[in-house]
């Protein structure tokens, strides 16, 4: 009649705490790359965890809770963007750029973390977020498709383009610093 008793509530909280909290640092990292602002990322994480706590009874024990909470985060962020009128629906220009990259640059490995971060930040958001979810957070294509509510084929094609754009940016940064002797040699030979 009055809802859950205190001990039941405490049990539920303890379960949630045990399952969800180990993933909070990862979720924060996903949030900050999603919104690119610390305060906004903290708000997004807080809202995500509140929603996850409310819906915890729907979480299937033994499945990937990190993917489940990331899906909630994308849902919460989508709502937030719609409210702010910042939801981008069409990105023809980015699609076009990605489609037209035919050449595959060679990549040197003598890059610093800072240069790698600069390169990934240059990749358009739509492709970058999928590359980060797959290659940093190691979610499966299926999990990403569910989070982003897009077909798995879209995930795969965006990933393919996103990774290619990232490699292109890496090559471009490395070239600025002149650390691609091999590539320079190839160009000279041509």
């Amino acid at each position: 009649m009055f809802g859950l008793g205190r001990s039941e509530k405490e049990d539920r909280w303890e379960n949630f705490e045990k399952e969800a909290f180990p993933h909070v640092p990862d979720l924060f990292r996903i949030a900050i790359w999603l919104v690119r602002d610390r305060a906004e990322a903290e708000d997004l994480l807080q809202e995500t965890l509140s929603q996850a706590l409310k819906s915890f009874h729907r979480y299937e024990q033994g499945t990937n809770i990190r993917a489940w909470m990331t899906k909630i985060m994308y849902h919460v962020n989508g709502k937030r963007l719609r409210k702010l009128g910042r939801l981008r629906l069409v990105e023809d220009k980015e699609e076009l750029i990605a489609e037209t990259i035919a050449f595959e640059p060679s990549i040197d490995q003598h890059l610093t973390d800072k240069e790698i971060l600069t390169a990934i930040k240059q990749v358009p958001e739509k492709f970058r977020e999928i590359v980060l979810l797959a290659d940093v957070e190691e979610f499966s294509y299926k999990e990403i498709a569910e989070m982003m509510r897009v077909p798995i084929g879209t995930v795969m094609s965006r990933l393919h383009r996103g990774r290619k754009l990232f490699r292109l940016e890496l090559a471009s940064i490395a070239r600025q610093y002149g650390i691609f002797p091999a590539e320079r040699r190839e160009a000279e030979q041509r």
Partner: protein
């Protein structure tokens, strides 16, 4: 499989997203093709570098005080405020007591006071509860304690805040048999000492033994005014003279206060320097006595 076909699926291969048969074809191709092996190694290296750069950049790391606040807010939402069904009655009774005491004090201090009591009243100065003085913050801490304090902070984050330890903690009782007898009853000692100073605003929410960075810790997690505080004890070897509690180190916006006792280091990790040092001072005597008793029992 041709090199061209391999180049189309190289990333899916690295992500483990290929069907078993395709995976076998890839492996067969790689066995014969040195160029593709090199391309694969570079792709793998790029991915690892990206992952490590994103994970280690400061902007991607959650602020520990925010994490603690978040946990505490969510806990309040989940479990509800910390009062029971008779809270209103208790509140009204308390309020009535406060009003009576205030009125009584006003009368005693007023011109009517001596008439009522027949004696003059000298109120004592309000007592300070172990204030943090600059002295406590600048004490020199033995190097072994400073070193162990880093691990204590890691334990606070990975165990108390994020429940993300590489190895599952074991009970203090089990650790007292398998690791060190000093674990036995450590939680009771901490609990009694802290409750003696803070009453019901502090409570023990977890107590166990954890292993982190190869170091064994007896770990008691307290909730003090809705904030997490870790009390950790570990063997550090010779700490020189018995030193007083002092600020040991600060990292990721938490502060560790520490003191040594009979070859053990005791650490208090919380969000503020003052809180860590004060708690360390409050529990110090009880823990020193516990350590010396348990050691003498060995």
């Amino acid at each position: 499989m041709t090199c061209r076909e391999f180049s189309d699926i190289i990333d899916s291969y690295l992500s483990g997203e290929l069907l078993v048969e395709t995976n076998h074809s890839v492996i067969r191709h790689l066995e014969q093709c040195r160029d593709c092996r090199e391309i694969l190694a570079v792709r793998r290296a790029i991915r690892e570098r990206l992952s490590s750069a994103v994970r280690n950049t400061e902007e991607s790391i959650i602020d520990s005080s925010f994490a603690a606040r978040l946990r505490s807010d969510l806990r309040s939402k989940a479990v509800g405020p910390r009062f029971g069904p008779f809270a209103w009655q208790l509140f009204l009774t308390g309020a009535a007591c406060v009003i009576m005491i205030t009125l009584g004090s006003v009368l005693l201090l007023s011109d009517y006071g001596p008439m009522l009591t027949g004696v003059s009243v000298n109120l004592p100065e309000p007592a300070m509860t172990n204030p943090v003085t600059p002295d406590t913050m600048t004490k020199i801490v033995p190097a072994v304690l400073e070193e162990a304090a880093e691990d204590a902070i890691d334990d606070h984050f990975k165990c108390a805040l994020f429940h993300d330890l590489p190895e599952r903690p074991i009970s203090l009782e089990a650790a007292s048999i398998t690791v060190d007898p000093v674990n036995e009853g450590f939680d009771k000692v901490v609990s009694e000492a802290i409750v003696a100073h803070l009453g019901k605003s502090a409570k023990v929410i977890a107590a166990h033994h954890c292993l982190i960075n190869g170091r064994h810790f007896a770990h008691v997690v307290l909730l003090v005014n809705e904030k997490l505080v870790s009390i950790l004890l570990t063997k550090v070897g010779d700490v020189g003279q018995q030193n007083d509690a002092a600020l040991c180190t600060k990292k990721n916006e938490v502060a560790a206060a520490c003191f040594g006792s009979n070859g053990y280091g005791i650490f208090v990790v919380s969000e503020t320097e003052g809180e860590s040092v004060n708690v360390a001072k409050w529990i110090g005597p009880a823990i020193r006595s516990h350590v010396s008793k348990r050691r003498s029992n060995v």
